[in-house]
């Protein structure tokens, strides 16, 4: 306590106010507006008077939209699992076995200080029909025909995003692994656990907060990304964000887009919440 608490509270609120105001202006008001827009219809280039649930009816009613939602969730889920799964071992390596942790962390983050667009585009180049992988393999005479399964499908989306989001996965997992008290591991070993058991019973549960954080950090932006699906997803890899983007590009359907946005936001929120809750419950049960 620095000075009298009463005086401090006033100053504290005053310091917090501008930030809250900006966030309120940029976040609360627009989202509210989006909710309002979703309850209207598009009439040519303007919105109708009066309220309607027609957009939500369309969003939830049309089978093609529903399957698009499903596919988006599945692809996002796959991206999350692959990214976190690939990132965990490297985070573990740096936390426990690397000698120059700082250099490793810098080396791992440097690739992300390039333009996101260009990284996605780089994968398009790499995976393409005449791309880097195919032309290299052809030159080495390892294949006769270029591989077609590499690009323009969900596989390409997963690979690209597993790369693009890697840092978001590695860092939170690394931080929570780093925090684990090494003497806990020694104690487990002392009490008879083999290396594998020790990992499963101590390290993994204690690193779950980092894993959960990483999963959320990856799942949420993935559902909202239209760049990657558009560049490397082809027709099979289109996701809900592409549909949303289309509504706001040129003459689209703003109310429909708003409804799609809010539904996907709600869906993502619910799924994320379920995931966090079940992950926590599973961790507790495993102890």
């Amino acid at each position: 306590m620095t000075v009298d608490r009463g005086r401090n509270l006033g100053r504290g609120y005053r310091l917090l106010a501008p930030t809250l105001a900006v966030m309120g202006l940029g976040l609360a008001a627009p989202l509210l507006l989006m909710a309002v827009t979703s309850l209207k219809s598009q009439n040519g280039i303007s919105l109708t008077e009066g309220w309607t649930l027609a957009q939500y009816g369309a969003v939830l009613g049309r089978a093609s939209y529903r399957s698009l939602f499903l596919r988006s969730v599945l692809i996002s889920g796959a991206v999350t699992i692959v990214t976190v799964g690939l990132a965990y071992p490297i985070a573990y390596y740096v936390a426990f076995h690397a000698r120059h942790k700082f250099i490793w962390l810098v080396a791992l983050t440097i690739p992300f200080w390039t333009s996101y667009l260009l990284r996605v585009f780089a994968w398009k180049i790499i995976l393409g029909f005449n791309g880097v992988i195919n032309s290299a393999l052809m030159r080495l005479h390892l294949i006769g025909q270029p591989l077609e399964f590499l690009l323009y499908n969900p596989f390409a989306v997963v690979v690209t995003l597993a790369h693009a989001w890697a840092a978001f996965a590695i860092l939170p997992i690394y931080v929570s692994l780093e925090k684990i008290d090494r003497s806990l591991l020694e104690a487990a070993g002392d009490l008879g656990d083999s290396r594998l058991r020790r990992f499963l019973r101590v390290t993994l549960p204690l690193s779950m907060p980092g894993v959960i954080g990483a999963a959320i950090l990856i799942f949420v932006p993935t559902t909202g990304d239209f760049v990657t699906p558009q560049l490397v997803g082809g027709t099979k890899g289109i996701m809900i964000a592409n549909l949303i983007e289309a509504q706001f590009n040129g003459v689209g359907n703003w109310p429909l887009g708003a409804a799609l946005s809010l539904v996907s936001m709600a869906l993502v929120g619910v799924l994320a919440g379920l995931f966090v809750a079940s992950a926590r419950a599973a961790t507790r049960a495993a102890r």
Binding site: L16, M23, L25, P89, P111, L117, T223, D225, W254, S264
Partner: protein, 263 residues
């Protein structure tokens, strides 16, 4: 040895991370319009072409403007919020922080679109200023995280000692708080600058006629003949970013050598 397998994995993963990144410099010096093997010889003509690309330079200037303003504003807002929350036991501080961090859990496309709707409703034009507002939403949480961590490691007694020794509130801030916060402030500025500079989704919806650099790049991607130049640009951005990140780490460690606590 168990570690051997893990080490191999680690290096393989590192290669996986760098291969796409290396595509940029490799093919930016390649004397061919086609991004494929075999390589066709060394050239710098793509880089030379960049200097003449006035649209690109204009977009670059826009991005720098937006990123600078965003960095300054988000750091200032983050600073005042961090000080408010760590120095006082405010009721509802947790809720306020949660609200401020909300943008991290909302897809950028939703943030961009909702701001687009706001602009439409209020009649304000799409512009770089709108982009700044959008970027503030995502950058303030980052600034806040960095600065709160810095504030929490700060020995409160240092400010009291300064007051005890005769300095009023303002002088205490200037002579004690600010110098010790500086590494955190610099880290926040760099982090938010880079985040804003690279941000595409929100800028895409809000920038109107004034393109930022990522928007410019997006526009170029549909033209195959422009690709090597785009790659050259990417290679330059990479180099500059790496330089900035190394500078940031150097500065951060400079500050970290002095323990934050007076004891």
């Amino acid at each position: 040895m168990k570690h051997r397998a893990l080490s191999i994995y680690a290096f393989a993963y590192l290669a996986f991370l760098y291969v796409p990144v290396l595509v940029l410099p490799v093919f930016s010096f390649n004397n061919s319009e086609f991004i494929a093997f075999p390589l066709s010889g060394f050239t710098t003509r793509w880089y030379a072409g960049l200097a003449d690309d006035s649209a690109m330079l204009h977009a670059l200037a826009n991005s720098l403007k937006v990123a600078t303003v965003t960095a300054l504003l988000s750091t200032m807002l983050g600073l005042s919020a961090a000080k408010a929350v760590t120095h006082n036991r405010l009721k509802g501080a947790g809720a306020a922080l949660g609200f401020i961090s909300l943008p991290l859990f909302i897809p950028d496309i939703v943030l961009g679109i909702s701001l687009l709707l706001l602009l439409g409703a209020t009649g304000l034009p799409l512009s770089l200023a709108a982009v700044v507002l959008g970027h503030l939403l995502v950058c303030v949480p980052f600034a806040l995280t960095v600065l709160i961590a810095r504030f929490e490691g700060f020995d409160r007694n240092l400010e009291e000692a300064s007051t005890d020794l005769g300095e009023n509130g303002w002088m205490t801030f200037w002579r004690v708080t600010f110098p010790l916060m500086l590494p955190g402030i610099v880290a926040s500025l760099l982090l938010t600058f880079i985040t804003s500079f690279d941000e595409f989704l929100i800028a895409y919806f809000l920038s109107g006629t004034e393109a930022t650099l990522p928007i410019y790049i997006w526009g170029q991607l549909r033209f195959p003949e422009r690709l090597p130049m785009v790659l050259a640009l990417g290679a330059l951005i990479l180099t500059a970013s790496v330089g900035l990140v190394i500078l940031a780490e150097y500065l951060r460690n400079l500050g970290a050598k002095k323990p934050m606590v007076g004891a």
